[in-house]
Symmetry: C2
Subunit: 406 residues, 2 copies
C-alpha cells in the first residue's frame, strides 16, 4: 500500500558521481542488493547518522571516518542485512567489505564508507558482498540513480528519488537524491538511508552545516511508528564539478542554495511517509502559536504517533477528541485548553475546549476522506511552530510487521 | 480478544459501601450504564486523576471537591459518554447530575463525585442520567460489586474485579475493587476508572498517600497504546466499619496494609492489560541494573510502546533486534551496549552487543509462543529497576479503533 502515485523523476546526472549496482544474493537470489557510489577526487562529503545507542556497525565506521578523514571516494551500500546488533564481529565484517573495495579501487580504506539496511541481528555474509564488488564496479555510470533507488529498498513498495536543476547567481546547480525507508521510521537523525549529490563546490564545514539544516527540516520531521532505526544515515555530496562555487556566493545566494537542498531533503522525507508501511493517508500535523519550537515539535510528534489518532484517520473518522487527548498529554507548557483551535483541512473543528459551534459531522467526514490530511492546531500562546509528516495506522502495518523479520 | 480467563471473584461486601446500577440508555438502550456508590458517614475517600490537560469535566469537579471538602458520600458513574472536550457546558452538565443526586439523597452537592467514560466530545444527556437516579438508588446493595464491574465497562470484553480478606495484628480487613479500561491506556494517573474500598479506618492524609503509592506501582505501570485518557480516575475508600484502625498499627503492620492495597491495585491494573484491545499476549517488561528508577521506567515504556516490538510479539517472533533498537533510542544515561543482557522467559538472547553465542532460534520461538511473556533486560550499570505490563499489537487493535468512536 502507498499513498498516491510517485514515479521516479528523470534524474540529472551529477558530474563527479557514478553509481553501480550488483546482486550479491544476500536475502533474495538475483535481486540487485549492492550499490556503489564512486565520488570524484576533490568532492566534499557530509553525513548525519542515527542517534540510537544500538547503532549498526557500518554507522560506527562512517562516524569515525567522517570525523577524522575526508576526501571520501566510495560508498558501499547493501540491503537485506542491517549488520546491527552484531557486536565486534559486525564491525570486522563491515571493515572487511570496505577493505576489499578499497583494494580493488586502490584508495585507502578510510575513503570508503559502508552502509547496511535490512534484518537486524544476522551476521553480514561478507564473502557474498565481496564477490559482487567487481560486477558493481564494472557497472559504474552517471546514469544509474534509478537503479540505485531500487537497489537500496527493503520493505519499500517503490523507489524514491528527487532531482532538481536551479540557477543561482547565473550558475546552474544540479541536485539528485534517493532515499529508502517505510517502517522503523522516526529518524533522529536521519531516515534509514538517503544519498544526495550536487555539482556545486561547497567546503566541508559548510556542507555539514547545510546537511544538518536540511535534515532538521526533513528527516527529523517525519514519523511512521516512532521507532528510530539502528542504521539511519543521510549523506550529502558536493562534487564541485558544476558551475557554482559556494565561496563566491553572498548571503542571499547561499540561502537560495540551502533552500534548494532543503527542498530535495523534504521531498525525499515525504516520499518515505507516502510509502510508509500500510499507509493509506499522508498526514501533515502542524502546531502554531506555541511558546517554543521544542514544545510545538513535542506536540506534533505526540499527535503523529498516537495509535488512536492514526487508526481513526485510517477509518476516515474525524475523531477530534483523540487529537485533543493526545495534545493534552503532550506536556505543552502553560497550555490553555480554552484557547486551542483545531482545523482539519481548513474545517474549524474544535475551540473553547470543545466542538466548534459551526462544526457538523458531515464537514468532518469530508475533511478526512481524502488521502492528504492537514491537522492544524493553534495554541494561541506565542509565535513558535513546527510541522511533522506522518501516516495512518492500518491493519496492513500490523500484518507487514508481524510477518517481516526486521 | 483477551488473554486467558479472568472470571470475577466472589466479592467480599465492604461494610459502609452500597452500590446501585441502573439503565439511562445513554448509548445503548436497556444497558446498565449508571452506577451509584453510597458511602457511609465517617468513611474517608482519596482519588487520583488523569494528568491530561484536556481532562474531562467530571475529573475537574472531582479534583475540586477532593481538594476542599471531604466526607464524600456518593459516587455517580456513567458509561457511554466521557463528558470530555465539552467545554463549559460539560461542567454544567456534570454539575447538574450530581446536584440532582445530592437533592434526592439530601446531602450537599460537594459530597457527590461524578465520573464519566465513553465517547469524547459529545454532550452528556443530563435528563437521561437524572431520570435513572431513582432506579439506581432503589437498587443499592452491599452485594452489587459484580453488577458495578459490568456497568462501568466500555470496550472491555469482560468485567474486572479483585477481592481480598487479610488479617493484620489479628484484625480482619476486607478489600474489594473494580476497574475498567481496554484502550487509550497509559494512565498518568490512573486507569480509566477504578474503585477500591476497604473496611479499615484510615485517616484521609494517610489514605491519600496509600493510594498514590499503590497507583505508582500499578496503574502508572501499564500501557496499551501510550494514549493517556482524559477521564482516568482511581478512587480508594476506607469505611472504618471493619475491625482495623490504621492509627493503632505499628510501621510493620502499616506496611502489610499498604502491601495488601498495592496488590489489589496491581491485579486490577493487570486485568486491564489482559483485556486490552486486541491483546493476545500479556507482556512483562522489566529493566534492572539501571542508574535510576526513572531511567528504567523510560526504557520499559519505550519497549512496551514500540509498535515494532508489539507486532513481533503478536507474531510470536522473538525479534530481539527490535527490542534492542527500542532500548537504544530510549535515552538511557551512560548506556553501554556491550553490557546489556536480554532474556525472554529466562532464555538468554542477547549480550555483548549482539546475539548470545548459546542462543538459537528454536529457543526464541519457544520463549515467545505462550500468552505470558517476560522480557528482562539487565543494563549492568546500577541497582535501580522498573517493571511495566503491556500487550501485543494486533490487527484486532486496529480494527477496534478504526471502528469505535472514542
Amino acid at each position: 500500500m502507498a499513498v498516491g502515485e510517485a514515479p521516479l523523476p528523470q534524474f540529472f546526472p551529477i558530474a563527479g558521481v557514478r553509481i553501480g549496482t550488483a546482486s550479491a544474493g544476500i536475502k533474495k537470489p538475483g535481486r540487485q542488493d549492492i550499490t556503489i557510489f564512486e565520488i570524484a577526487e576533490g568532492a566534499t562529503v557530509a553525513g548525519v547518522f542515527t542517534k540510537n545507542a544500538f547503532c549498526a556497525a557500518p554507522v560506527q565506521i562512517c562516524q569515525k571516518y567522517l570525523r577524522h578523514a575526508s576526501a571520501i571516494r566510495y560508498l558501499l551500500i547493501n540491503t537485506g542485512n542491517a549488520n546491527a546488533g552484531t557486536g565486534k564481529a559486525g564491525l570486522n565484517n563491515a571493515q572487511a567489505t570496505i577493505a576489499a573495495l578499497a583494494e580493488k579501487t586502490q584508495v585507502s580504506v578510510e575513503k570508503v564508507l559502508p552502509f547496511s539496511t535490512g534484518v537486524i541481528g544476522e551476521h553480514l555474509p561478507v564473502e557474498k558482498v565481496i564477490q559482487a564488488l567487481d560486477a558493481g564496479l564494472a557497472n559504474l555510470s552517471a546514469d544509474h540513480w534509478s537503479a540505485a533507488a531500487k537497489a537500496i529498498m527493503t520493505t519499500d513498495t517503490r523507489p524514491k528519488g528527487v532531482s532538481k536543476k536551479i540557477h543561482i547567481a547565473g550558475k546552474a546547480v544540479h541536485i539528485s537524491g534517493i532515499s529508502k525507508g517505510a517502517g522503523m521510521i522516526k529518524p533522529n537523525m536521519a531516515t534509514m538511508l538517503a544519498y544526495v549529490a550536487c555539482d556545486a563546490a561547497i567546503a566541508e564545514n559548510q556542507l555539514k552545516a547545510m546537511l544538518q539544516h536540511a535534515c532538521r527540516l526533513s528527516f527529523n520531521r517525519i514519523t511512521v511508528d516512532g521507532d528510530t532505526s539502528t542504521n539511519d544515515s543521510a549523506i550529502l555530496i558536493a562534487t564541485g564539478q558544476g558551475e557554482l562555487n559556494s565561496q563566491r556566493l553572498n548571503t542571499d545566494q547561499l540561502q537560495q542554495l540551502q533552500k534548494a537542498i532543503d527542498e530535495v531533503f523534504v521531498e525525499l522525507a515525504q516520499l518515505i511517509i507516502r510509502d510508509a508501511e500500510g499507509a493509506t493517508k499522508f498526514v501533515h500535523v502542524r502546531v502554531i502559536g506555541g511558546l517554543s519550537e521544542k514544545d510545538c515539535e513535542k506536540t506534533t510528534f505526540t499527535i503523529a504517533e498516537s495509535p488512536l489518532v492514526k487508526t481513526a484517520l485510517y477509518a476516515s473518522d474525524a475523531n477530534w477528541g483523540r487529537i485533543l487527548a493526545a495534545l493534552g498529554r503532550s506536556g505543552v507548557a502553560d497550555l490553555d485548553v480554552s484557547r486551542v483551535k483545531l482545523h482539519i483541512n481548513d474545517v474549524l473543528i474544535a475551540e473553547n475546549g470543545g466542538r466548534a459551534a459551526s462544526y457538523n459531522e458531515q464537514q468532518g467526514i469530508a475533511a478526512v476522506s481524502g488521502s492528504d490530511i492537514r491537522i492544524d492546531i493553534d495554541l494561541q500562546l506565542g509565535q513558535a511552530q513546527a510541522t511533522v509528516w506522518t501516516c495512518d495506522l492500518s491493519n496492513e502495518y500490523v500484518t507487514i510487521n508481524a510477518e517481516y523479520r526486521t
